[in-house]
Every structure is written in C-alpha cells, then in structure tokens.
Subunit: 533 residues, 2 copies
C-alpha cells in the first residue's frame, strides 16, 4: 500500500514532487544495509541509483562464456526480477532511466550440476545505470544475483534504489547443507521446493535428503517397487515418484544446490523390511525367532546383491558425486541374538566384537558405492567404532558434547569433515536464541592448516520426529540463516551477535516478503508481514 | 485421491463391488472413535450408516424455537456441510438414502451474542437416516454440530459413515479462552479469523484479545485516532480498523465465541503515550525529567477523563459483558521518581506505599467500566498486592509456581477465577509434550464446593514476543486442544494421557484436513497432510 509522505495535501505537481523527493532521498543514508550472509569484502557508499522496473534488464557480458539460452541463468533472471520487484510491491513513481545487470561467466556449465568443487566466487560492481557481475561458473553467478537482489530496497514512497557498491565474495566453506527427514513425516514435494527456494536466499548449496528411515520408505524405486508400496506411509499419496525426485533435483540445480541422497543402513531400516524380505536380521529369543527384526542382515550374500542393485539405481538417479550411507546408531542386540549372524562372526574371525561386523558391512557398502564413482559420507559412529578407517572419505559429526574434539580426531585421521552437531534445529529448547547457532566456531580446534582444510563445511539438521509441512518453515527460518552466515562469511567480520542482529532481522523481513514463513526473532514488525495464511 | 482396495484387478462389476464392500465394512469397527474434546456421556455402537453428500440435509425440528433465517445456524449448516464433506474428499460411490440432521433449539437467540451464562448443553442422537440435535441455545447447537461433524468418517474407499450414537454433553467450565497478543507482533485479521475457526473445532468459547501493549497500539479508536496513527507499528498496514474489529466479533459470534478485549493499564502502556500526551508518567532523575515515561500517570484528573472516554468507546464496540483491565507488572520506579506523583501520594495519605496508589488507580478504572455495565477481569497482580479487594470480580491467575495456591487464595476471598498459568503456550521449552497441558487439575486445591464453583474456567495464553502469523498456528495447535479437553470434559474420564493420545492424534489429522496448520505430536502421518504450502 502506498502512503504518500504528503498525503494531507494534493497540491504538489507530480514532476516537481518527484524531483524534490529524489534530491532529498539521495542524501538519506540507508538505515539497514543488509546482505545475508555477509560478503567477504563489501564497500558501499550513500550514493544511490533509482531503479525503474519498466527499464530494468539482465544481460550477458560480451566476454561471457555463456549467453542467452543458458538454462540456469535465463531462469534466474526471470526469478530474480520478481524477487527484486515483487508483485505485492507498493506504488512507485520514479522515472529513472535504464539499469542493466550484466553477467559474465568464465565457464559454460549451464546444463551441468553444481558439484563439490564448483566455484561460487563472484564479484559485483554497482554503478550508475549498471551492475557488473562476474563469476567463474553459473553457480557463482547465482550467488551474485542473490546478493544483488538483497542490495535493492524501497524507500517509504515505494521507489526502488540500489547503492553504489563493490563486492568480492566467495564461501568460507564449500559444503553448506540442510538435512530434511522425509521418513518420520512425509514432506509434500511442494514443501521441499519451497525449502530449496529459501536455501538459495541464504546461499546454502547442499540439500541432504534423508529420504528413508525406520518409520517409512517413501522413495519409489524402479528396481524394488515394493520398498515404497509396502514401506511408505501410503503407497500413492506418501511417496516420491521418480518424477518427483527429478523435479526436486532440477529445482535444486537451477538454484545451484546439490542433492545429496541418504540411504541410511544397516540401522534405521525398519521400513525397508516391509517390502524386501530376508533383508533385515530376524531377532531371536534363545533359539526361537521373535518375529521382530533388527538392522540389515550382514551375514547374507543376498543383502549385498540387493544393496548393489539399489545403490546402482540411486547412483543413476542422483547426479551428485556424493552419497550419504548413514551408519549411525546400530543396535547390536538383535545381531547378537541371531545364530546365523553369530556363525558368520565366527567364520569371519570377528570373535564377539560386533563393531568388526559393522565395519565389515559398512566397508562393503562403501566399496559398492565407490565402484559407482561416488564419494561416500557416513555419520561419525562409523568413524568412532572402527579401527580400520582407510575406507572412509567424509565423516559427518553429529553428536552433542565436545564436537570439536571429534572434529579434531577425524581431521587427525586425515578424513574430511562435515559439522552438524551444533545445528540440530529440530530440537526443542529455547527456540529463539538464534545466537546459539551463530556463535559456532568450526575451526576452533588444535590442528594444522592442512587439518583445518579437511573441514569442508557444515549442515543444519531438521529431523522429522516432530516436524512436517505444518511447522518446517518457521522452525528452519531464520535460524538456519544464522548457520548459513557462519558457513559462508569471514569469521572475523561476523563474530558479533549484536552487529548481526539488525541485519538478520532485516533479512527475515526479506524472507517474509518472498513468502517464506520465517518466524520472528523478537518483538517488532516487518513492512510486509507474512500473508500466506 | 481414490485408491480402490482391489486395484490390481479391474474385473469387479461396480454395483456388486459396492454391495460387497458395504457388507464387509458394516462389521468392521472404527479404530479411532474420535470426538475431541470428549463429550460428557457418549454411547456408540458399531452399527453404522452410510452418508451420501447428495442426500444429506440439515433442518430445524418442528418444536424448535428457531427456524430458517436464523443467522447463526443457517451459516453453520453451510459451514459444517463443507467440513463434513471436504472439497478435497476422495471419490465416494455409495448410493445411500437421505440423511437429515434435525436441530431443535429452545430459545431464539439467533441474533444475539454468546455470553457468560449461555448454555452450551446439547444432546445428539444418531440413528438410521437421522440425527437429532437438541440444545437450549444456538450456542449449544453449534457445539453439537461440531461434535456431529467429528463423528463422520470415511472408510478406505472414500465412503462416508456415521455410527449409531447417543451423546449428552455440556462443558465442565463456562470460560474456555485463548489469548492472542496483537501488540508485540501484529497479527493480520486473517490470522485471527483462522484461529477463531480452529477454536470452534476444540469448543473454545472466549477470544481474549490482548489488543494493545507497550510495543504497539493497533486498535484504531474513533475517539482518539492518534493512539493508532502514532502508536501502531504502521498507521495503515498494522492497525485494526473499526471494520476489522466488527469482522472479528461477527466471525466469533457465528462460532459461539465471545470476544473479550483487554486494554491493559497502568503498566504495559508505552505505545499509548505516543498518541496521547500527558497520559504516561514522566520519569525523573533527581529534579529533572529524563525524557522517558513510565506507567499511566495516576495523579492527573485528565488520565481518568481520558480513560472514561476510551472505555466508553471500547464498551460500545465490544458487546461482551466482560472487559479485561490488565493491571499486571506495574513498575513503581518511575512513579517514585516523579515529584507530582509523590505529592499526590502525600495528599491521598498513601505514604510511600505505591501499591495503594496502584489500587486507587485500578479501582477507579474498575468503577469506570462498572458504570458501563461491564464485569472486569484483572491479572492476579491486582489481587496480590492490595488489601482492598472488594472492587474486584474476576481474577486471572497467570504466575508459574504453585498456581493452585493462588487459585485457593482468590477463591477464599470469594472472587471468580480464570486459570491461565499452566497454559502459557508461547513459552519455548520441550514443545512437544502436550501432556503437560493436559494433566492440569484446576480444582485440585483445598476448598469448599462453593469455592470451587468460583473457578469459572481457564485460558491458553499465546503471548507475542516470538509469535506472529508465521508460527502462530503450529504453536497453538494441537497443544491448545489438550487444554480445551481439560476445560470441557469430565476430569475422571480424561485423566489418562495414554487413552487421550490416539484421539488427539486423530483430531490433529482432522485439523489438517480442515486447513489448520497443527504441528505433529509424534512420528507418523495423516491421510490428508497439510496442503497449505
């Protein structure tokens, strides 16, 4: 809604009024200068340029390796135009001249996928009538477009402006993820897509899809259709079809987000057993099967045949070079009770050390996925309980307590690390203290420079026990954005909660304006409140 | 979506199939027999009757004092038809005969408002082709319609059924409220209306509108327009116009919900001062005003003139016979610092006992509203700190700790009580343990029968520090429903959390189906997940 500053009087002649206003506003500094997460270097001045949506253009630079027809950037231009000039925008009456955002990209990766080594570096220079955005890859260009969109603001009269700005930017960590759990509660595809939208606003770049677990198996496998037809909450309404999965991967790709699937085993697999007989370990009481089942049965060759086929499918469906194999929280009691498993232990010379059996199983699964050219990630349990660690590549640290002690141990072992422990956002608790997720120092452990480089990033985990589409967004946002800044920005420039606070509040209002149900951080208001009720 | 039970085969001839299915289902008992909150007496059998939406009618009984044209019930019939047969319903193919719900009401109160003494009693008898709903008032009939709507269910094929049932029902407590705080964050009218919808589903009957407070004054007063034009977060987008307020009151009335406005003073009034000069107490340091302001200034006659005019307006805008006057958390330091206040204390013979000043102020405000024929409610602070309590009517107990000790004290003093302390749902904490809000025993204090009758009910408080339209619904629902059952149902029949749990889970799924963003209680799924993303 447009509230003219001089609404008490209709006497002002429009052109004069505009000129007058422009002159006045030219010298009013912005109160909140918000880009979230904070760019690595950022210089701006109070000099500002009016933007006229009728004469605002995105274009490709003459030296750019990519041009019109680049799927990722063409779509991004359309998307960011709407984000910069929202349909619910208030009346604007400036007659500003044309403004062009010229994008130049070094490599033509328009039809590829973002990967672990993709550069996200960009530079952005905003001057009169023109912004120049340069990046090595289209993924870097996407990050720059996001930054540009956050630089644009409206004054009280509704006119759009952008200040003179110079930015050089790149992420501190290469891996910046969010885990969604679609097994404990089914999340409609729309809820995942909306999360991907919001992830891009905070420059997250990995969607860790914890797609199956004990309660349900919603992934519709073409190799083993019974897994979802019998293991999902409902075989039709509560599954992800191949087409759903492609839609998620495509939506993510367009935003420079990798999709990392997790098929957690040998524990957390109760739902797998419904559609695949002889996969789980039958538990025994004495010499009698109880009718209940434990983890995947590591003693049967058929288990590895099944896993080979399943992971072959999964590897072809999900293009990312990483795959998450889980491996957490394996309860040994059922294995111990089963005579066939015990016989297998004996045959293999494992004695009564079930961690050896687990290691054997995990190593086999890692080998299966290595043969499929995938880099595997495992939860820290697999690292913690095994002496042979050479088969491991990336370890995800999730346990509370001294998580940096664990990070240090994994780094000493020469393995790469993803840090999730401090960012379990599904946890109930004092939910509003976002600072707790902000004041995390992932490299504050004793170690060499080389060891610190092994920390490739971090991840926000949104487990599904108490989370579904009804509360996912307010529980994630804007608290996940606090983690996002920690993972993207320079630590020295972002160590103060006090300094970050007004920027995060401003960013949260931007999220609301973009339709993201981001919960409030404190008493107050946004110019545009959440309207999706 | 319709999933035929025998989808593997297309050979079944439809009519035979239907008959077969009906015969089979006739003998399958319902697994979850859910009415929430639990009716006082409830008898049902496995005998069940198919409902055909094409031949389903609401009508008035021949002995009913109200007929077609009754605004409250005519609208309720339309509303409940859609709730019973949702547009997102799955295919149904039964050819059942007509079914009529016949409503008979003793008093014609169709155009009135629900009040503190309104009967909500009803009886409901469901038999073949017919349900008979009898109530003393239209408000009781609304409660019965809600119950009936919850009795209807769909089988897996999508057919609608209702079981043979006899219900006699009435609320345990007369006052069952929800407080929303529209000052710390502005709640769009749509969010309030949606909350009223959901309140009716849990049989809440009071919307306590904590409409103004320190941070903002969104109520647009016609007598003092500056209060919102200067005291709201925004004078146009963040206010409640008279028309908004009428819309809320009307929406509430149609659902048998009273609207109880709170204009809290003398503390919690910082926003009032922006639009009304000389209302708040200027704070001093020594003999110099600091430029800051404290509570309402009780020493000036102009204060009482202002309050008289404001409450005259408020009393005419809000039809309910109750008004909430606040009176909580008054900080005396500013009063103490102010020489005029001190002089007034001296003149009135209060010495240095500022509780006497506060009592004087509150008694004046109570007298003002009494003269306007309103029953006033105050927060427990007003009761706690004053020896003269005869001017009080209803005390709302809100402080944590031994709240039943407080209830007992207030009851001993012969005053009526509303219990809010155990139901502060805005509080962060272990958010999922709804049982904490269920296992509350409001009458478990030592007292006579007469004293226990003074507990007129309870209230869920949703304060606004960290709550706005982005997270209001999942924070309220279904946890508030746990409180609702405590306030409506018989305590002996609802003392078990284990027994209540499946019914509450079922009820939560009903809320989702009705578009209420009610968060999950545990791992699992609903047939119809929340779609409003």
């Amino acid at each position: 809604m447009f509230i003219p500053a001089y609404s008490h009087s209709g006497r002002h002649v429009r052109p004069n009024y505009n000129v007058l206003l422009l002159i006045i506003l030219q010298f009013v500094p912005r109160t909140v200068e918000g880009v979230w997460p904070l760019p690595q270097t950022f210089t701006s001045s109070t000099e500002r340029y009016p933007l006229n949506p009728q004469a605002f253009y995105f274009g490709y630079g003459s030296q750019s390796a990519v041009r019109e027809g680049c799927s990722v950037l063409d779509a991004a231009f359309t998307r960011y135009f709407s984000l910069i000039f929202p349909a619910n925008g208030i009346l604007r009456f400036n007659q500003a001249g044309p403004f062009t955002v010229e994008v130049s990209v070094g490599h033509d990766d328009c039809e590829g996928y973002p990967g672990e080594d993709s550069s996200e570096k960009y530079s952005l220079s905003v001057s009169a009538g023109h912004a120049s955005l340069k990046a090595e890859t289209v993924w870097g260009a996407l990050r720059g477009l996001e930054t540009f969109s956050q630089l644009v603001y409206q004054d009280d009269s509704g006119s759009y402006f952008v200040n003179k700005t110079e930015i050089e930017d790149f992420p501190r960590f290469q891996f910046r993820g969010i885990l969604l759990d679609t097994s404990r509660h089914y999340l409609p595809v729309q809820a995942i897509l909306k999360t991907l939208d919001a992830m891009a606003y905070s420059k997250f770049n990995v969607f860790h899809w914890h797609i199956v677990d004990d309660p349900s198996f919603p992934y519709q496998s073409w190799t083993f259709p019974d897994l979802s037809s019998k293991g999902a909450f409902h075989p039709v309404t509560h599954i992800y079809t191949q087409s759903d999965v492609r839609r998620v991967i495509s939506h993510a790709r367009m935003r420079g987000i990798r999709v990392l699937p997790e098929f957690d085993s040998p524990g957390h697999t109760a739902s797998w057993g419904k559609g695949q007989s002889n996969l789980l370990t039958p538990c025994y009481k004495g010499s009698t099967p109880t009718g209940t089942f434990g983890p995947v049965n590591p003693a049967l060759p058929s288990t590895y045949h099944f896993m080979m086929k399943l992971f072959k499918e999964v590897s072809s469906v999900f293009p990312d070079s990483y795959i998450h194999l889980g491996g957490d929280e394996v309860n040994f009691s059922c294995w111990k009770s089963n005579p066939d498993v015990r016989a297998f232990m004996h045959k293999m010379g494992f004695g009564v050390d079930f961690t050896k059996l687990e290691a054997f199983y995990m190593e086999s699964i890692v080998n299966i996925t290595s043969a499929l050219n995938k880099t595997s990630i495992v939860w820290q349990d697999v690292f913690d309980y095994h002496e042979r660690r050479r088969f491991l590549s990336v370890v995800e640290v999730w346990k509370a307590g001294c998580y940096l002690c664990e990070v240090r141990k994994v780094a000493k072992a020469g393995l790469r690390i993803i840090l999730a422990a401090p960012w379990y956002l599904d946890q109930p608790g004092p939910t509003h203290n976002w600072a707790r997720y902000y004041t995390v120092w992932p490299l504050a452990f004793k170690g060499t420079e080389e060891q610190k480089k092994l920390v490739i990033g971090g991840e926000v985990c949104m487990w599904g026990e108490y989370v579904d589409a009804t509360n996912l967004s307010p529980r994630l946002w804007p608290r996940a954005s606090a983690a996002a800044e920690r993972l993207w920005s320079d630590e020295k420039q972002t160590s103060s909660v006090e300094k970050a606070s007004p920027r995060l509040m401003d960013f949260r209002c931007k999220l609301l304006r973009r339709g993201i149900q981001a919960e409030p951080l404190d008493v107050g208001h946004c110019q545009h409140e959440y309207q999706g009720i």
